[in-house]
């Protein structure tokens, strides 16, 4: 595992840099700005969670990194730099060498990602031989080793089986094995546990934590489940309507959230460890219609602290120190003063 050594050496160095990335879908009824200008960095060996509701652009953004956006989706602005290379400038052929080798991705539904008419072994061997010039026998050996790593018993026999002979959790393990087989520097996991039951979800999370510790690979973990994020991520990015609303390390986000949306999300979830019954505090309103997004802050219309400026102008990203940022007018001193003025117009 050459990358493993590399990953260790380069800890705390920038691996991925996304700058003002914009992705739009050009539909017959108009342009949908699925990702509206997001920027973030990811270091070697770091696990970052991207949280957001459906339609917040969290998956689209990942597809853009992988170069997997399909028509009518298009990157319309910004840049993606991975390990010093400009990803968006790569040709399709270069992208094929990039995907799987440098960055790989696992998806929500493992059944639709595995080919039902080939054995698991064939698919794993194909994945290696696409990228590395090694013999079939060596590839087979490597595949068996990977299946062992992801906790599949009896891998020699399992190699000759078809995807339908595996359960949901086992298929997800195979997907992880396939994703890791070429020692990528980064893994993008798009809702990898959402389709699984809680006990199986716990198995997969333990496995991913374990593998991350062994290989020191960077992971982008896309999910809507804040519980899973708390368990596995170092840093968290919260997205809403194609924008990053808050970003920071896991403790800042969970214990010191500054954006009303993040606060609302944390408050609205029932806690299993709650001693007393407490009524939930929901976020009122309905999700944003991405065809006609509101002017100003996308969360404005649902925000309980909404001020006049929120509905007119987009809030800037405010640095709260220690890599913690939030985009909210409440954090701008000027706006606070203005808000006070608006509240007491007679004075």
């Amino acid at each position: 595992m050459n990358n493993m050594v590399n990953n260790m050496d380069k800890k705390n160095q920038k691996l991925l840099e996304v700058k003002d990335l914009r992705v739009s879908f050009f539909t017959p009824v108009g342009e949908v700005k699925a990702v509206g200008g997001i920027s973030y960095d990811l270091n070697y060996g770091e696990v970052m969670g991207i949280v957001g509701e459906s339609g917040s652009g969290k998956s689209v953004e990942a597809y853009a990194i992988m170069g997997l956006l399909q028509s009518p989706g298009k990157v319309v602005g910004g840049s993606i730099t991975f390990d010093g290379e400009d990803v968006l400038a790569k040709s399709e052929k270069e992208m094929q060498a990039f995907r799987g080798n440098q960055v790989s991705m696992i998806f929500q539904n493992p059944m639709t990602c595995l080919n039902p008419v080939y054995t698991i072994g064939d698919q794993l061997i194909e994945a290696i031989r696409c990228h590395k010039k090694i013999s079939k026998a060596e590839a087979r050996e490597k595949s068996i080793e990977m299946l062992k790593l992801v906790g599949i018993n009896n891998p020699e026999r399992r190699m000759n089986q078809y995807p339908h002979e595996f359960s949901g959790g086992m298929r997800q393990r195979v997907m992880i094995a396939m994703g890791l087989i070429c020692d990528p520097k980064m893994l993008i996991a798009d809702e990898p546990t959402t389709a699984l039951d809680v006990t199986i979800q716990a198995q997969i999370i333990e496995l991913m934590k374990d593998i991350q510790q062994k290989t020191q690979m960077a992971i982008i973990f896309i999910t809507h489940n804040l519980g899973v994020v708390a368990e596995i991520c170092d840093r968290v990015t919260v997205m809403y309507a194609g924008k990053i609303v808050e970003q920071g390390n896991v403790e800042d986000i969970f214990y010191r959230p500054h954006h009303p949306y993040t606060m609302g999300l944390l408050r609205s979830m029932p806690r299993l460890d709650a001693e007393e019954y407490e009524r939930l505090i929901p976020i009122e309103g309905t999700p944003v219609d991405m065809l006609n997004p509101p002017a100003g802050c996308p969360f404005g219309p649902r925000c309980e602290h909404c001020m006049k400026i929120c509905l007119r102008r987009e809030p800037p990203q405010i640095d709260l120190g220690n890599g913690h940022t939030a985009a909210c007018w409440l954090l701008v001193d000027e706006a606070k003063r203005l808000a006070k003025k608006e509240e007491t117009p007679n004075e």
Partner: protein
């Protein structure tokens, strides 16, 4: 029988037959000998993993599936073999997927109105439309929404329509079958709160089925845990969380991710080996013995009895 019980099931069993060639049948043992009751005005939660039979149990209680054996009582009356139409008015269901459970070619008003028509609840046309408008405002929509079609609404709003449809016949008992699973986190809490308000106002009784244990614990007075067709444990919600007896309940509780980085990284979780066996060919004895970390030889041979181990705390396990 207790007079406070609205629903009572005794040894309820539901098998589905699958044809496996000429004159050969296999049975999926979806629900096996369920015994419990639901008190008036209470919420009974039902948790378990996919395929454990919780939805089948809910539907069998409503006789949307005919039970294979066992008895169902509604308010003291045996409804296992009666004509269901009069009971349909009292027993309703809210489905998981709101877009699939609404007819795309009927307006919201027609969907809700149909329920009112079937049970002849409205005296006049005006009464009918008044009722529809009242229901829509009750679930947080506008009366103008009555003329729109389901596709014009978001998922959360569609679920509200599904709830309005269930409430249209003024039921006493509602089976909520994963009512919030398909919704976004921020919308889930809106619907949960609304269901709680409805219960308060109308004195409803719920059977709340979901796989998200945090939500179930929040809304339920008591919780039943199912594994592979069996109800393995049943207790008051806080008791079940603080003092789980069945090994499966313990695992399930420890597997739920807690949105708190310190707690979730420090606590010990029990990780189960393997997957759920097929309900077509369930393990002998205790169905959990193949994955149970504490299994002894007796578990393989003997089906554990359903016992009351503490006041109002039932479980089926040999080793407790």
């Amino acid at each position: 029988m207790n007079n406070n019980d609205l629903i009572r099931v005794e040894n309820l069993r539901k098998y589905f037959s699958i044809k496996m060639g000429f004159m050969k049948y296999h049975y999926v043992q979806a629900v096996e000998d369920a015994n419990f009751s639901i008190k008036k005005g209470e919420t009974l939660g039902l948790v378990g993993e996919s395929g454990c039979g919780k939805t089948t149990l809910g539907r069998t209680i409503l006789r949307l599936h005919e039970p294979t054996s066992g008895k169902i009582f509604y308010d003291g009356e045996d409804i296992t073999n009666v004509r269901m139409l009069p009971y349909r008015r009292k027993m309703q269901i809210i489905f998981q997927d709101p877009s699939a459970s609404l007819d795309p070619r009927m307006t919201v008003g027609e969907t809700i109105g149909e329920a009112i028509d079937i049970h002849k609840l409205a005296d006049s046309r005006k009464d009918r439309s008044d009722r529809i408008h009242k229901l829509l405002t009750q679930v947080g929509l506008n009366s103008e929404h009555a003329n729109r079609y389901p596709h014009e609404f978001s998922g959360g709003q569609q679920q509200r329509i599904g709830i309005a449809r269930a409430l249209a016949v003024q039921p006493e008992f509602i089976v909520c079958d994963e009512p919030v699973s398909a919704l976004d986190v921020s919308i889930q809490s809106q619907i949960v709160n609304m269901l709680e308000d409805m219960q308060q106002e109308m004195g409803l009784t719920y059977l709340f089925i979901a796989h998200d244990i945090s939500v179930v614990k929040h809304i339920s007075n008591r919780i039943g845990v199912m594994y592979l067709g069996n109800v393995v444990e049943l207790a008051e919600s806080n008791e079940l969380y603080n003092n789980p007896l069945h090994p499966y309940t313990k695992t399930l509780m420890s597997a739920v991710p807690v949105p708190d980085p310190k707690i979730s990284r420090e606590r010990k979780r029990i990780i189960l080996e393997g997957d759920i066996p097929s309900p077509m060919n369930p393990p002998s004895g205790c169905r959990f013995h193949t994955r149970c970390p504490y299994a002894i030889s007796r578990c393989k041979e003997e089906i554990p009895a359903w016992r009351e181990l503490a006041p109002d705390h039932f479980a089926a396990c040999h080793i407790i």
